[in-house]
């Protein structure tokens, strides 16, 4: 064994007396600084200014938490921005993490109201009761943001709006019509040269209100499967999110899909004229969609307000492929500090000043009948 040098024997291990202590202190400081900020994960956190829109002249102050639908997200962020210029001291946080997640947080009392693409299902309503979320009462649906569904397609050589009837659309999404120059489609589109390209339908692979409302339309007027937020079609491919559906349609020759109106305009996609109950084809414009939504039946159970579209309405200027999203709040049993905030914000959401902003965002303003019903519901919240 080699002799150890004198240096090796003399040299004791240098012990940084304070080094270890310093290291532990730094680690502790870093760990503690990570705690402390209790800002709940939220997308738009905004502070607001003076008086609210409608009834009450004084603006409640405090923090309002909400979560849910991504379809509403653009609308809600616009609303919070405007609400803030009117109400200082109010902070509105909306976390667009999806309808299911939003309702779950609502039931667990993490948010004051939830945004959802569909009214509460019986399972969800049962959970609200069993969790005692609204005291001894139940939650109510408040239709807040409405829109139109565009049937987008990419047919080589076709730049105009095709007439696609509900029956043909149902057949396309079920895989029984497979090429664009099928006789059924050609019959509705005289004078248009349709190629023999294969039709590739795209649907939403995630559950969505757009799927629900489009399948509802096809079910009522086209003999399709019952309305379902998980797309019930038999053919085609599922993509996640409306932007993916739009991207797939845009990049696939022969592709057809459905998405909210704003996605069609953003991606410069052609969309179809769909048939109404009388069999005539209606062009998709926001005005036409608004005409149709205005005729929806308001189903009120107590304070709960659901919109049932009247697919038998056959006005030539009413575009029947529409959707509506809801805000879900407690009818009774609201937290007393949150209640004025909920009322103030929701009243603003259904007011004229807020709804008129929706047109530029690609949504459709609520008809006045629905606004009145909503205002009555909101003012009765307790």
């Amino acid at each position: 064994m080699p002799r150890r040098s004198q240096d090796e024997r003399d040299f004791p291990v240098k012990f940084q007396r304070y080094g270890a202590v310093a290291g532990v202190a730094v680690a502790a400081a870093l760990a503690l600084s990570a705690c402390g900020s209790d800002n709940n994960s939220s997308s738009s956190s905004t502070t607001s200014a003076a008086a609210s829109g409608s009834a009450a002249s004084s603006c409640p102050s405090g923090t309002l938490n909400a979560a849910g639908s991504t379809a509403q997200a653009n609308a809600i962020s616009q609303f919070t921005k405007d609400y803030q210029t009117k109400c200082p001291g109010t902070t509105v946080n909306y976390n667009a993490n999806g309808s299911g997640a939003g309702v779950t947080s609502f039931i667990q009392k993490q948010v004051d109201f939830a945004g959802s693409d569909y009214a509460l299902s019986s399972t969800q309503a049962a959970q609200v009761t069993s969790a005692g979320r609204c005291g001894s009462g139940s939650a109510v649906d408040i239709p807040a943001v409405a829109g139109a569904i565009a049937v987008i397609y990419n047919v080589p050589g076709v730049t105009t709006s095709l007439n696609l009837s509900a029956k043909n659309l149902a057949a396309i999404f079920d895989g029984t019509i497979t090429t664009w120059n099928d006789a059924a489609i050609a019959k509705d589109n005289p004078g248009v040269t349709l190629p023999s390209t294969k039709i590739q339908p795209f649907y939403r692979s995630d559950t969505s209100g757009t799927s629900y409302n489009f399948s509802n339309y096809l079910n009522n007027l086209g003999g399709f499967a019952a309305a379902n937020k998980a797309w019930p079609g038999k053919a085609g491919q599922g993509a996640k999110g409306s932007s993916a559906v739009a991207a797939k349609v845009k990049s696939t020759a022969g592709g057809i899909g459905y998405a909210e109106y704003s996605y069609a305009t953003q991606n410069n996609l052609t969309f179809a004229n769909v048939s109404n109950s009388a069999g005539s084809f209606v062009k998709l414009t926001q005005a036409n969609a608004s005409n149709f939504i205005a005729k929806a039946k308001i189903e009120k159970t107590g304070n709960d307000t659901k919109l049932a579209f009247d697919y038998t309405y056959s006005n030539a200027s009413a575009y029947p492929n529409t959707l509506v999203t809801y805000e879900i709040a407690c009818g009774t049993g609201n937290d007393s500090t949150a209640l004025p905030l909920i009322k103030g914000f929701l009243n603003y959401v259904v007011s004229d000043s807020a709804q008129s902003e929706l047109t530029s965002l690609g949504y459709v303003p609520l008809p006045s009948t629905v606004q009145t019903a909503d205002t009555a519901t909101i003012n009765s919240l307790s």
């Binding site: 003399d10 309808s99 299911g100 692979s205 559950t207 085609g236 993509a239 990049s251």
Partner: protein, 337 residues
């Protein structure tokens, strides 16, 4: 090595040897600093273990909850509908289709990516001039820095529209195997997802393989040359066998990453109902992509079912790793010490 009496030091010029200054023995009694530091280190380890156990217990509880409510066989069903959207509220879900998709896309990714990564590693260590090797190393590491969502976007918007040509060629050559047949449509297929995964695991496998090949003993390389080997023969004789274990670990690591890749796959793939048996045709789903897609809108049972599928992915990864290590161990034993 401790001694009770300090060694004496020979002093010059006839002076009496002085005992060297007493040095502290190597094992001193633990002071307060020792106790605090040792205690915090042990405490941190115990805390991590408790935390992992708590997380595992919570996840298992949720998963078991969901599986107990499942009305069909969890392991063999092809549908995924835990919230019962299409079955009137009856939870119906199974992982067969998505687990299959996970395995297929990951295997494709590794089959394409691993050889390329090993080739890159060999190039950097043995073929490239020094300066180029360093630059190349940085570039490969850059690939690892790209976020997976960017890979997903690139795959969806750039790669996918061009996969038609390659898929058509493969179908022409291998179309007699049912796996490679299509109905005429291409793109958004498991094959495209596999290619994206291959690019994503490239930097991991290449970096580790590079480090391993760099450590090949110089003697073995020179011995191979001394025997008259060409460069390729030298690599085959000296470098590859030496690096076999390590590179297998690297490939396993890459495979593990491919199994768990979420967003990139979710964006590239489109889903179709049922089991996907055609990898060139559009359609497919993996466990991780399914979680990413369904989580936002899932209600209570839905989330618990997704957690259950996550646990299945975890078990799958463990099994794959274990099987690979078994193969490596058997090979090592066969090859000798």
């Amino acid at each position: 090595m401790s001694s009770d009496t300090p060694p004496t030091v020979a002093e010059p010029e006839g002076q009496a040897p002085k005992p060297a200054p007493a040095r502290p023995a190597l094992t001193t009694k633990a002071g307060l600093g020792d106790r605090i530091f040792g205690g915090s280190a042990r405490g941190a380890a115990v805390f991590i273990l408790i935390l992992m156990a708590a997380i595992a217990a919570f996840l298992i509880y949720q998963a078991v909850n969901a599986i107990s409510e499942d009305k069909v066989n969890f392991l063999t069903s092809f549908t995924w509908d835990p919230d019962g959207n299409s079955t009137n509220g009856v939870p119906t879900f199974g992982i067969a289709a998505i687990a299959w998709g996970t395995l297929v896309t990951s295997v494709i990714g590794v089959l394409i990516g691993a050889p390329i990564a090993i080739g890159v590693a060999l190039f950097i260590t043995h073929y490239a001039p020094r300066s180029l090797a360093a630059v190349f190393g940085y570039i490969i590491d850059l690939l690892a820095a790209v976020p997976s969502v960017v890979y997903g976007l690139w795959g969806l918007l750039v790669l996918d529209p061009h996969m038609g040509g390659v898929s058509r060629i493969i179908e022409d050559v291998l179309g007699w195997i049912p796996l490679f047949k299509t109905n005429g449509t291409y793109g958004s297929s498991m094959f495209t997802a596999g290619v994206v995964l291959a690019i994503m695991i490239l930097p991991i496998v290449a970096a580790i393989a590079r480090e391993i090949y760099k450590q090949t003993p110089r003697e073995q390389i020179e011995a191979a040359y001394a025997l008259g080997a060409t460069k390729w023969e030298m690599i085959r004789l000296a470098v590859l066998p030496y690096g076999r274990n390590g590179v297998t670990s690297a490939v396993i690591l890459g495979f593990g990453r491919a199994l768990g890749e979420t967003i990139a796959v979710a964006m590239v793939l489109t889903t179709v109902p049922g089991l996907v048996t055609r990898i060139l045709q559009p359609g497919g789903n993996t466990i991780a992509a399914n979680i990413a897609t369904q989580f936002a809108d899932a209600f209570t049972t839905g989330r618990q079912a997704l957690i259950a599928s996550g646990m299945v992915l975890f078990v799958l990864t463990l099994l794959v790793n274990y099987a690979a290590r078994l193969v490596v161990r058997r090979n090592t034993r066969k090859a000798g010490a």
